[in-house]
């Protein structure tokens, strides 16, 4: 049966033995789980680092071991881990690997061997990163943006030891892993769709994953170039980014380089990176909101065009991170305009999600709760972006807590809410069981309200002018005591929210054994991953017969059908 399943004229890879089945598996579902486990593990580390930071900010001096140097190491590693090693890996490596072949009606990714390699290279990049915690200099404390000259000079933790080198090395290895995975996703989406699944019948999350991959493949090389040149500057004492520097009473051996060049390279990567994270989150919301509101997604065509517009414009907004960085200030006019233009397709997506709720049949399941929370927090995060993108307004607000509040809302809070919603929604597909509903709701409420309380006030101390990346505010008269009180409050919220994440973790693990059995399509979804013969789908996904697609993925509430949904692989003649 499965042995005869052909794939591009080559038989589907069948694992031999325990190592081949569970460790070096070439099955996309196993690889997805491997990505998810490693990403969650390193993400918990990142969360722990943020709690250390919050202890310093909320209760300065309580932990003497959190020195200024340690604080900046925590800040840096927290940021880098969360953005790259957790979010990018989890959305693309985790959700991407699991969903793309299943939702397209394919047996596996186009190149399963390369897919397997991509996980292990990602794992290697995480190991290299973790090593930086154990070297003498400790991990780098240069800020996740790693700006030279400070990132490779004494005076910044990890700069004169192995810390910065291990970070840059780890990033380079990650980029190789991402490229391998990314090539797979592009090929699979373009080439392995089931019969009848045109591009405009793909679920929106696939469009999102596809475009996010496209963004990554074109953006990561800029980071790679910057990282290589920074390594050269540090190890070989070249001067790509290093101008003349007077430090420690003497002129250093550098000269002629441009720190601003690094920033251009970094942010040419950095801005698309935030869309690499946001787009899959958008995709999850599109799938969840239509399924749990039992209504077709509104405006599918515009949603696709908006995604394409966002992906394209994402490449020409990068210098809004550099308005006051010392680049030609007249560039500010251009980048402010493109940045505010990108708000339009993004707003269209928000409208379409919201209109999907109109005249719908909304089930307040845990995934739906996450969708609604996403919408509210993404509104805050996106709207505050309009402040920062508007170049003149960025002047008083840049490098203050306004920025910290903005990027956490739009990258940490809303995508993570989408992530949780997605994990709850697809858990039955992966395990065949449902997550515990009560625990899910408890975790949801603590996380949603808690993160709102943490990040919303930050915008206001940003208006006040409290700078970011400050170990302590003691010395500044313009910062009143009430800010310290707020910091204490935020820290307490952060500790509670942090603890609550273990509720979710517990739920994930225990429900795999004791959760209610789910059946193959517990949510009544139209997309193909739920139409496999069994949940979880077996190796090869579809048994003897690959599915054939007859309709778009959002026939919820189709007039003329008895049921309130019609899956993609049901032809018109068979609608009951």
């Amino acid at each position: 049966m499965e042995q005869n399943a052909m794939y591009e004229g080559q038989p589907l890879h069948h694992p031999k033995g325990w190592w081949g089945r569970y460790v070096f598996s070439q099955d996309h579902k196993v690889i997805a789980l491997q990505y998810i486990c490693v990403a969650l593990a390193i993400g918990l580390t990142g969360m722990f680092l943020s709690l250390l930071m919050r202890m310093q900010l909320g209760f300065p001096g309580l932990f003497e071991s959190i020195s200024a140097g340690n604080y900046y190491q925590d800040v840096t590693m927290h940021g880098m881990i969360m953005v790259i090693y957790l979010l990018t890996a989890l959305f693309l490596g985790g959700f991407g690997n699991y969903l793309i072949p299943l939702m397209l009606g394919s047996r596996d990714m186009a190149f399963p061997f390369v897919n397997m390699l991509s996980f292990w290279v990602y794992f290697l990049s995480v190991i290299i990163l973790v090593c930086s915690f154990f070297v003498e200099s400790g991990p780098t404390g240069a800020g996740w943006t790693l700006y030279p000259p400070q990132s490779i000079l004494e005076g910044t933790p990890g700069a004169d030891g192995a810390g910065i080198l291990l970070m840059l090395g780890s990033l380079a290895v990650f980029i190789i892993a991402f490229t391998m995975g990314g090539l797979n996703y592009i090929t699979t989406v373009l080439q392995s769709r089931a019969k009848g699944m045109s591009m405009m019948r793909m679920p929106l999350i696939i469009w999102c994953l596809f475009l996010a991959t496209f963004l990554g493949l074109l953006a990561f090389p800029a980071l790679l170039v910057g990282a290589i040149m920074l390594i050269f500057d540090r190890v070989l004492e070249t001067s790509f980014f290093m101008p003349e520097i007077f430090k420690g009473g003497e002129v250093l051996d550098y000269g002629g380089g441009s720190p601003v060049l690094f920033q251009h390279l970094f942010w040419f990567f950095g801005h698309p990176e935030v869309y690499i994270i946001a787009l899959p989150a958008f995709g999850i919301i599109s799938e969840l909101i239509s399924c749990h509101a039992r209504k077709n997604i509104f405006g599918y065509n515009m949603m696709v065009w908006a995604l394409i517009a966002i992906a394209g414009i994402a490449f020409i907004v990068w210098a809004h991170h550099m308005y006051v960085a010392g680049m030609n200030p007249y560039l500010g006019f251009f980048f402010a305009t493109t940045t505010l233009i990108i708000a339009v397709p993004t707003a269209i997506k928000v409208y379409n999600w919201v209109i999907t709720l109109w005249n719908a049949n909304i089930k307040m399941t845990v995934p739906m709760l996450y969708c609604l929370a996403f919408l509210i927090t993404f509104l805050i995060g996106g709207l505050t972006g309009l402040f920062l993108g508007n170049v003149a307004v960025d002047v008083p607000l840049s490098d203050t807590y306004f920025v910290v509040g903005h990027f956490h809302m739009v990258m940490a809070v809303s995508p993570v809410l989408a992530l949780y919603g997605g994990l709850v929604h697809w858990y039955p597909s992966v395990t065949g069981r449902m997550l515990d509903d009560r625990l899910g709701k408890i975790h949801f409420w603590i996380t949603f309200v808690g993160t709102y309380l943490i990040y919303f006030p930050m915008h206001y101390i940003g208006f006040l002018g409290v700078p970011r990346r400050y170990y302590s505010n003691e010395q500044y008269d313009f910062i009143p005591q009430s800010v310290n009180d707020l910091n204490q409050f935020i820290t307490v919220c952060a500790l509670i929210v942090g603890a609550a994440q273990f509720i979710f973790l517990y739920n994930l693990i225990v429900s795999a054994y004791r959760g209610e059995e789910a059946g193959s399509n517990p949510w009544g979804a139209c997309t193909l991953e739920w139409q496999a013969l069994e949940s979880p789908p077996g190796h090869g996904n579809w048994g003897d017969q690959l599915p054939v697609v007859y309709r778009w993925p959002y026939d919820y509430g189709l007039p003329g059908a008895t049921a309130d949904f019609v899956p993609q692989n049901v032809p018109d003649e068979q609608i009951t």
Binding site: L218, F240, L546
Partner: protein, 189 residues
């Protein structure tokens, strides 16, 4: 390829391997585009002193051309299912790619004996960095070449499709094209 057998929609009638390799070429192009960009940016600064291009690089270019010729030969052999031609073509393709990299290393040694050390001048650093990055990507191609050649010499039937050899050849030609552009950049600046 018959689409209906595998029940799949195809993008522009391309095969999986073609999409993979063409996308990979796009990504690598972006990388070299950025390096070139940084090069042109840095070139404008006062302390830039151009590196004299060793004439050995012309010989190396010739090696890379021969490597491409070899791969094209292998591809024509694959189309005519002439195993002998395939083997010869692959051997020539791989051999001259390795000779190219070896020649590049030789050129670096020539430059350092003349005193053009890596860190003395940004132009020097860029020269080594650009040629090294390109050579690394050629070596990456050689890794794929090993896999394909091993299968050919075991006379694996699946390799007698022109596809894998054609794609390997396309990558070789691409590496030659990138080299011509980089070489041109180094010669004219």
């Amino acid at each position: 390829m018959d689409n209906t057998v595998n029940n799949e929609e195809r993008f522009m009638g391309l095969t999986h391997g073609q999409v993979f390799v063409y996308t990979l070429m796009t990504v690598i192009s972006i990388l070299f585009l950025f390096i070139t960009n940084a090069y042109l940016f840095r070139m404008n600064f006062e302390d830039w002193r151009s590196v004299p291009v060793p004439s050995l690089l012309w010989v190396n270019t010739g090696s890379l051309v021969l490597a491409s010729v070899g791969m094209a030969w292998a591809k024509s052999g694959a189309k005519k299912t002439n195993l002998q031609t395939i083997k010869v073509g692959l051997a020539v393709g791989g051999l001259f790619a390795v000779i190219f990299v070896w020649g590049q290393i030789w050129a670096w040694q020539e430059l350092t004996t003349l005193g053009f050390f890596l860190t003395i001048n940004p132009a020097n650093t860029f020269f080594y960095l650009i040629t090294a990055l390109h050579a690394l990507h050629v070596l990456g191609g050689v890794v794929a070449w090993f896999y394909v050649t091993l299968k050919t010499f075991k006379q694996d039937a699946s390799i007698l499709k022109p596809e894998s050899i054609g794609l390997l050849g396309a990558y070789w030609h691409y590496m030659l094209l990138v080299w011509v552009m980089l070489f041109g950049l180094l010669l004219t600046t």
